[in-house]
Subunit: 217 residues, 2 copies
Amino acid sequence: LEMMSKIVQFKEVGKKIVCVGRNYREHAAELNNPVPSKPMLFLKPTSAYISEGETIKIPKGCSDLNHEVELGIVIGTTARDVPQADAMNYVGGYALGLDMTARDWQAEAKSKGHPWSVAKGFDTSCPISKFIEKEKIPNPNNLDIWLKVNGEMRQSGNTKDMIFPIEHLISFASQCFTLEPGDLLLTGTPSGVSKLNSGDVIQAGLADIIQIQFSVK
Amino acid sequence: LEMMSKIVQFKEVGKKIVCVGRNYREHAAELNNPVPSKPMLFLKPTSAYISEGETIKIPKGCSDLNHEVELGIVIGTTARDVPQADAMNYVGGYALGLDMTARDWQAEAKSKGHPWSVAKGFDTSCPISKFIEKEKIPNPNNLDIWLKVNGEMRQSGNTKDMIFPIEHLISFASQCFTLEPGDLLLTGTPSGVSKLNSGDVIQAGLADIIQIQFSVK
Ligand SMILES: [Mg+2]
Ligand SMILES: [Mg+2]
Ligand SMILES: [Mg+2]
């Protein structure tokens, strides 16, 4: 019970955000990236979190801020080297998040072989919903996920199109880093990412489970 | 006082580890990297921390684990967009740390334009000393820093040879990410990095202030 009330506050108690890149074939293709043979992981700091009512800020010097809507897994129990068959036991709940990306900075980092951390981890780069109870999502591998900008549909996918499903991602990530209660795993974005401008309003949703709204300053 | 006792426990309460790459000219040169025009930042998760008495584990599949001895800054006060002139006010204390690096994985990531997170953030990749009180280091920009493997000197530098001194690093990092109390900033390594093998014993020191020892499993 104490752990449960703790992970509901994952934005405050969580220590890391592990993100998966290129986990939907059509999104890999739209950015001219090869489909990966294993999950590609990167980190955002928890200082990147914002909740509804807070505003996404275009970081100074960024000229191509992109939205990426993603299903988030909130870790419930410490996970290290867990097999895929047990992976779902480590899920504490879910959240709907945006992996905001300074695409111009990321492109420069990629071309120079530099780390992605600033392009992916700037303040307000992780707008996130409230905690979603695990029981509300019996099967996370078959959920419609969508994002609109100013009322226009930009991303419309389903988690069944993930290259690596949830069990695989948790198992793989737990072999790279010990996952701790309250940590978040963002599972990649479907195609349709696009540039945002100041004043844009983003709405996103996960099946009939949750909707979120954020505006861009 | 409450904040002070909190940051002494930075390994437990800190949320992120911000690392600086290529901050010593001779180290940039030894890896054939250009000298950067601004600090190059990346993240390690706090799950990477180990303390003396714990063992560095060569991650499965890594064939070139390297040591990088670094001065760590423990953030004392929330820092966002702070000017260099005020930067030292946000320092809560110091630590001596090792930025353990899977050099083979990092080289592959660099060549493909992939993130560095796994090459830099695996479990045990941040061996760290106990907290060092701020008062013990009147000038962090002039400290001998060294590392021996099995009693043989491998790295011997001084923080005065940093390309970007502490004030610059704190100011710059605080423009990229909000720095929070207990966060650690690792400030880069002098030249002399080398490959480690199972059974090696690492000793490292900072002036006459602290020494640490870790063995490799
Ligand atoms: Mg973190
Ligand atoms: Mg993404
Ligand atoms: Mg380093």
